[in-house]
């Protein structure tokens, strides 16, 4: 594969994003500029920006990779990611905008008048943000290695650097413009190549994976194994090996590999003949074409997995920090609804495409099942299907550019919201210490400058931590890890928002208990799976897809504890609800409360 063009494309996307961020528009000056683009963005632009921010590496690369590996059940990812916005529209969009706060912790404090709940929510925002950032950065590493052969650490460092520059220099105003553009770049990058790939697929006789056979190499295929792996071979096969096989150093010899488990060393190239079965890692059983094609026929409790995934994505979307903060850029509640409605169209259009790549990947890049890097399928397909040539190079470059747009836009949105929350907490800590009289006008300006400086610092911290973690933590499929972030959001912020907006009985104690139990349980399963513990059977299913039990747990605890402590329902509850639900056109005589701007 030609490595120069993709590298140039990556560089162009990175530099353009950074330049746009730094010089493209007036840099944010006031605190509100930094957070939410002064709340003056039109619905279509705002919707494009939401789409650009939301369609992360998990959507761009991850769904195709999971479809390649596990088939029909993974199609629900796209449905869940879209339908999550419908739930958000129905329960949260307009009231959230009317709440007049910047972040979920702000919302929690305004609604419950409790600093404790606010701090708890802040911690969760930061953890969810980091958990979501981690796979974005790792995917950047994988992409750069796939297309240019660069070491794994280059991608995370490049993305981290661009994001820090963008966020630290301008804040949300510049981010909005960049992300609106990046949605359209991502859609184009998926939509154009798929036309050519499908034509090539038809010219090839429109094959579908063989119902009775495990995945097979269609052509003679050379697989480069970067990380050592133990694979199980079924039928004996003659392969050519450059590197280490079963502890033996081989240099281009043809060897016969018998049935059983074989160890392939790091940085080994193995060439398989056309028509041979793809060896799978020992802990992954090969799935034949029939099971791959049919829904609910995977090995480990596919029914539970599917429903748990749907719960996590439907209810988790509303709790994602970078999604929620976007609603404050709408001028009012109805505009927030219009924006969400537009977002649904943009998402529905986008999610038609990744499954196509996944199915083609099953046919033409099955070797990824052996290395486990199924997220790379999208990047390899043009070369594989169109057989080299300048056309394939152009399409591959487009896909690479789209992938980088996905990493950058999601990562900057997340970094922005994590930075916002971190910065606010820092500011409050400082404000509590300094209890002098309120300053004069000149002091106020200096104060604003100091605030923006703190926020920039927080932006750097928000990106640096996951950047460092991405180099250490074991790599798992992108969409899987993002699914876990959704599960944590669904088990913590979803109950807080739903009960906070629609139920008078919510108390600070109940909210805190619910956040701790639901969010805590979900985070615990994440920690267990991230460190590579994968038990089989039911425990494995419950740990890998926790939402189906952590979400009901969070709701039950939050409502139950609120009911037990029903004497301490905050006194401002009725007023808070009035503010969330009353149409703006009423222009009610509001009691003096928190400022809206």
């Amino acid at each position: 594969m030609n490595t120069v063009q993709p590298a140039v494309a990556v560089a162009v996307v990175c530099v353009a994003t950074a330049l746009f961020g730094v010089y493209g528009l007036r840099p944010g000056r006031a605190t509100s500029d930094f957070y939410v683009a002064s709340r003056a963005v039109t619905p279509l632009r705002n919707a494009s920006a939401i789409g650009g921010e939301y369609l992360s590496a998990a959507s761009f690369l991850g769904i195709a990779g999971l479809v390649l590996a596990y088939g029909a059940d993974m199609l629900w990812y796209g449905v869940g990611y879209t339908a999550g916005y419908l739930v958000l529209l129905a329960f949260v969009a307009a009231p959230m905008r009317r709440s007049g706060a910047y972040t979920v912790p702000d919302f929690a404090e305004a609604r419950l008048q409790s600093t404790r709940v606010r701090q708890l929510a802040s911690v969760l925002v930061v953890l969810i943000g980091w958990l979501y950032l981690l796979p974005q950065l790792q995917a950047a590493g994988l992409t750069l290695r796939t297309v240019t052969g660069a070491p794994l650490w280059v991608g995370p460092v490049a993305v981290g650097a661009v994001v820090m520059t963008t966020v630290a220099s301008g804040g949300m105003r510049s981010v909005t413009a960049v992300q609106a553009f990046q949605y359209w770049l991502k859609l184009t990058a998926l939509a154009v190549p798929v036309i050519f790939l499908l034509l090539a697929w038809r010219a090839d006789g429109a094959p579908w994976p063989d119902a009775d056979a495990p995945p097979r190499f269609r052509d003679t295929t050379t697989v480069t194994v970067h990380q050592a792996v133990d694979v199980r071979v079924g039928d004996p096969v003659r392969v050519t090996v450059h590197g280490r096989l079963d502890g033996r150093r081989l240099d281009g010899e043809r060897v016969r590999v018998g049935p059983g488990v074989h160890a392939i060393g790091a940085e080994t190239r193995v060439t398989f003949p056309a028509g041979s079965d793809v060896p799978h890692p020992v802990d992954e059983a090969p799935v034949d074409g029939r099971d791959w094609t049919r829904p609910l026929s995977g090995p480990e409790h596919p029914g539970y997995g599917t429903y748990s995934l749907l719960i996590a994505t439907l209810l988790g979307t509303m709790g994602l920090p970078h999604v929620i903060v976007r609603f404050y850029t709408n001028p009012d509640g109805p505009a927030a609804r219009r924006t969400t409605w537009t977002v649904l169209w943009l998402l529905a259009a986008f999610y038609l495409l990744p499954p196509l790549y996944g199915a083609l990947g099953r046919l033409y890049t099955p070797e990824l099942l052996m290395t486990g890097r199924t997220d790379a399928t999208l990047l390899l397909l043009p070369d594989r299907l169109l057989g080299g040539g300048p056309g394939a190079a152009v399409l591959g470059t487009l896909l690479t550019a789209g992938a980088f747009a996905a990493f950058l836009s999601t990562a900057s949105g997340l970094t922005m919201s994590v930075a916002g929350v971190l910065g606010q907490e820092l500011e409050r800590r400082r404000a509590r210490r300094a209890t002098g009289p309120p300053g004069k006008a000149a002091d106020a300006r200096a104060e604003v400058r100091a605030t923006v400086r703190r926020l920039r610092l927080a932006g750097v911290a928000a990106a640096a931590v996951p950047c460092a973690a991405s180099l250490v933590v074991v790599e798992r499929p992108v969409a899987d890890v993002v699914g876990l972030a959704f599960a944590v959001a669904a088990s913590s912020f979803c109950p807080l928002l739903l009960l906070g907006i629609w139920w008078r009985g919510l108390t600070p104690q109940g909210a805190a208990a619910g956040l701790l139990s639901g969010g805590g349980a979900a985070l615990a399963t994440v920690a267990v799976t991230m460190f590579g513990v994968q038990p089989g059977g039911w425990p494995g299913a419950l740990l890998a897809r926790p939402a189906a039990w952590t979400v009901p747990l969070a709701f039950a605890v939050m409502a139950g504890v609120s009911w037990l402590t029903r004497r301490s329902v905050p006194s401002g509850t009725a007023h808070a609800l009035l503010r969330l639900h009353a149409p703006e056109s009423l222009d009610l005589p509001r009691r003096p409360g928190r400022p809206t701007g």
Binding site: R294, Y307, L344, L352, A359, R591
Partner: protein
């Protein structure tokens, strides 16, 4: 769904006259409001002020109450201080109004999300267990793939459209009710 809620639906909006000097043209009905013939909903002129003639008769702006409310930063005298004030100060009466709005909106949201949950809840089972659906292919692609990958999205969009429209209507009716009582 109309009329099936705590907030009564109203059909025509009586135009409200607003006179800067306070002399209402219809003989000064209390609060400057008159019970004129109904103006069709949603078709209100932007501003009905004629080009200023030489001799100034009292100028009257005819517009939908909501339009007026949106335009004016100050509440017009009289009427709107009633329920709006109740709402703002959270008297028991205001609370009743607020509860009715929240109940209406919550019912709508629950209905839409319930429909979504029913579709998404039944589909996996249906696609996996009904053999005629599970094993059919259409143009070389298995039907379950077409259903999950394509056909679900229009359903989601349709539900969103229904929700959007109805939620806006609920709020408009609530605003009318509050401004008029």
């Amino acid at each position: 769904m109309r009329g099936d809620r705590g907030v009564p639906a109203q059909n025509g909006g009586p135009p409200r006259d607003r006179t800067p000097q306070g002399n209402a043209p219809h003989g000064g009905a209390p609060g400057g409001r008159t019970a004129g013939p109904g103006v069709p909903r949603g078709r209100t002129p932007e501003s009905a002020t004629p080009p200023a003639p030489a001799a100034p008769p009292p100028r009257v702006t005819v517009a939908h109450p909501r339009t007026l409310a949106a335009r004016s930063s100050q509440p017009p005298p009289g009427s709107r201080a009633l329920v709006a004030d109740d709402l703002g100060r959270q008297t028991p009466l205001g609370d009743v109004y607020l509860r009715s709005l929240i109940r209406t909106q919550l019912r709508l949201a629950a209905l839409v999300v319930g429909a979504l949950a029913a579709v998404l809840g039944l589909l996996p089972v249906l696609l996996a267990t009904v053999p005629s659906v599970r094993d059919t292919t259409l143009a070389g692609v298995p039907v379950p793939w077409l259903v999950i990958g394509v056909a679900v999205h229009p359903v989601i969009l349709a539900l969103a459209w229904v929700y959007q429209r109805q939620a806006r209507k609920n709020e408009a009716e609530f605003a009318d009710l509050v401004e008029r009582s």
